[in-house]
Amino acid sequence: MSTLVYINSRDGIAKNAYEAITYASKLGQEVIAITTGNANDSLLATAGEYGASKILVDKSVGTDDAQQITRVIASAVETTGANTIVFSNELVAKAVAPRLSVRLKAGLISGAIATPEGNTVKVNVFSGKAFGAVKINSDKKIISLLPNSIQPEQSGTACSVEEFNGNAGEAKIKLLETKKPEGEIPLPEAELVVSAGRGLKGPENWGMIEDLAKELGAATACSRPVADIGWRPHHEHVGQTGVAIRPNLYIAAGISGAIQHLAGVNGSKVIVVVNTDEEAPFFKAADYGILGDAFEVIPKLTEAIKKFKASN
């Protein structure tokens, strides 16, 4: 029996793809990776370094059309006889994995945060406020791993790359345009995040947040009110109804820490909170707290990071 891992290679291979291969190799079966598109062979071969015995690539699929990718993976499941399919629970997988579940009548666990224990897999539920242990009742199983839940482990060498025809069929979704702001670190992928809220008093004061983020190599984020009044773009809103993130470090300035905000960031490994109000609920969820004015603290922190980088 084997485990098939889908990885997205359209814009290079992200860290979360290597996490998924590492996860698959912990399941104790042969691991075969599958992807679509035109990434070069030497890049695709790196799947082997994390435990894949080979990688299949269907070059006929040029976009992230979920219907096409689902058909390709289903063909590969048939060809390889895989009984488990692993995804990283990123944007494309969120569209593909549920489709594949129906196509194969295979139970899907999305948002897995650990390897299986007995016949259950641990997942995040209630927006990170609790965990669930989910069991799959079908013979074929699909697990979609929450990004940044395990570390990628390099254990082998490059693997072979094989062209695969997965009978993808026609694309029904036409890609018209892609817009990516230059130089910004994508929030869902970021390991370090600097975030700010209404305590900053106005959009013109975000310069110091951007300076700190730049110094750290971090992404910027914000609270819901700040996105709703248009101080910051919607895609920066983290929280229950915005983006849920799990960075290694989350620095929050001028955010009180309402329960809805915490739901989007409680997966962070370390939380630093800067607030003038010692009663701010965010301090209860923080690892490090600074009772002070963000307008004074943030520039000082930026200076301290600069000094630290210079001495290391």
Partner: protein
Amino acid sequence: MKILVCISKSPDTTSKIAFTDGNSKFDENGVQYIINPYDEWYALVRALELKEANGGSVSVITVGAAQDDAIIRKALAIGADDATRIDAEPTDAYFVAMQIANYAKENAFDMVLTGKETINYNGSQVGGMISEAMDLPFVSLASKMDVAGEIATLETEIVGGIQIVEVQLPAVISCAKGMAEQRIPNMRGIMAARTKPLNVLPASAVDALTSFESYSLPEAKTACKMIDPNNMDELVKLLHEEAKVI
């Protein structure tokens, strides 16, 4: 244009999360249920805006028990024309998606909308599953949508930005922030909702593929370490040496 909006209930965002029966069930004691915010704020409101601009109808559907009628009545109060409740315990995403897909197949909708995920299970599964069961295209995590004739143009989230795509209807679309603004039902809407049709249909025979065996709560955080606002070097040192995140 006929639009179907899938509605799920979820606990109010301020609910205390606790479990009962040996941690095998969500403790509903004192929990207020609401329409899952993604379903309400984005999917339902955008559907109503499209109807107001182009004509047509907006139907809502949920899978649940009789006490969930209050949830779906609220969708009618916000402006949906009619509602359907499939009378069954929503055991897993596959079960729910199959019920909705079976209903949608018989009723020729131009569009089936879902929220991007529920705030209780966060699975983001039902929309994709419906699309596969109906063999329709699926556009996920759309933050903008316009419709001209039988073509929908959508903005969707991709890593590090957005993309603009075009899809021929019928299609299944999951809706995220940006799509629309929350609407508060007014008294007229609430009164009208009482007389709008709410059809209760029996469930089709479908076996769930997954089951939640147990739940647990995260360990309480250790107390927050307070740092002198004038000593950011100390914070940087702790982040480097103790927390090892920089």
